[in-house]
């Protein structure tokens, strides 16, 4: 049974560090249950664990840095508000990915209505974030950037239903079962959708994949 604490509990720095170390050993589900009992540090740990992987997923899906960050923020706010809605029947990761995925799809529909195009359709020089590997030579780094940019652009060109599964499977490396629960589609459909998404993407990236 998780220890009940007041939601506004304040900790001393030493106590906080000790609790953080303790929380780092817990599973996602244990963390959310502790958070349901009012432990805010458990929520901090959830944010720490998921912020980058959710951001990666949403960014690959939307292709826009600022919007993706907003969506991840909104995802955590929803988790915060709806913490009581989480039940043990589902994995926590499934639940949080479903929230983020739904918000990302809503954003996509909103953009479609307003004819908004992501900034990633600009050249790779225009992006405002740094993901370079410093161990590579400048030339290799430039080429790597270019390839990444091309792949990202072609992922964006896929329809959302193919884009979603290929990101979840090949970039986030989730299991078919989990993807099936996240997007609420039968397992067989997920598998065939992943296969079709890969076929579409390899056709679009033929020039790049054949030359490498």
């Amino acid at each position: 049974m998780a220890k009940k604490t007041n939601i506004s509990t304040k900790y001393s720095p030493i106590e906080k560090e000790r609790l953080q170390q303790e929380l780092a050993k817990l599973s996602d589900e244990e963390l959310i249950f502790r958070f349901q009992d009012g432990d805010l540090l458990a929520f901090d740990e959830i944010v720490k664990r998921y912020k980058n992987q959710l951001f990666n997923f949403v960014f690959r899906f939307l292709g826009e840095y600022a919007d993706s960050e907003d969506i991840v923020q909104e995802t955590f706010l929803r988790v915060f508000r709806k913490r009581r809605a989480y039940r043990k029947v589902a994995k926590f990761s499934t639940w949080i990915y479903t929230i983020a995925g739904n918000l990302a799809k809503t954003e996509l529909r909103r953009r479609k209505k307003r004819n908004v195009f992501p900034l990633s359709t600009l050249g790779y020089e225009d992006r405002d974030y740094e993901i370079s590997d410093e161990s590579l030579s400048p030339e290799t780094r430039t080429n790597t950037h270019m390839y990444e940019e091309i792949i990202q652009r072609e992922i964006q060109a896929l329809s959302p239903k193919f884009r979603e599964v290929i990101i979840l499977r090949d970039i986030q490396e989730l299991s078919y079962e989990e993807i099936s629960k996240i997007i609420k589609v039968p397992l067989g459909t997920v598998k065939s959708r992943v296969n079709r998404a890969r076929l579409k993407l390899q056709a679009r990236l033929k020039f790049l994949l054949d030359n490498k």
């Binding site: 939601i7 506004s8 929520f43 944010v47 912020k51 980058n52 992987q53 951001f55 990666n56 960014f59 690959r60 840095y65 960050e69 991840v72 923020q73 955590f76 706010l77 915060f80 508000r81 974030y129 993901i131 370079s132 590997d133 390839y147 990444e148 792949i151 990202q152 290929i166 090949d170 970039i171 490396e173 598998k191 065939s192 992943v194 296969n195 890969r198 076929l199 993407l201 390899q202 990236l205 033929k206 994949l209 054949d210 490498k212």
Partner: protein, 203 residues
Amino acid sequence: MINCERFTSLITDYLDDNLDKQQKAEFKNHLQSCKECAAVFERVNSLQQHLKKLPSVKTSPVFDIVLKNRLRRELVKNTTWNLFENPWIKISVIGLSAAAIFLIAFFSLYYPSISSKQQQRFSSTVSNFQTFTDRADSTNLSQQQVEEKIYFVIEEIPADLFMSERQHFDLLFSTNAHSDSTFSSLGQIKQPAYTKSLVTVTF
């Protein structure tokens, strides 16, 4: 023997090692015999590697600060809202709201009677003032005497009304100050705009 369409539909299952022995054998046979399908297979295989190698993008350094601020606002909202979960606080708030509504209703019903008394008093003041100015033209009062009378009349006007309608009185005095004919300028108050503004004052 499988065809090209069947082959491409099995690529993912083959890569995930989900084919049975016979399917795997047929898949391999087609792979060796069809150059186009072999190229597709190679590209899918290579694509998977590329996707796995894509760098993981990270949130900006201000992400945590922004999120914490938003959560703090959420907490404040929650704390305020949670107060209402206490039945005694809920009953007190409902009781106080009901009392406030009752008091507002009571005063809004009572106030017009006070206001109508003031209205009557003010109307008679205005009426006296008009009668006075009508008569002023036909009498031999000096300007000083007229102004004294005006001050006297103004004193009878309720202070709050005088303040709210001050611009009209200021206009009256400024007209007097620059007029050659005392009584004709005093007649200004009989002009429709001014009279109307005095009469239609609401409390």
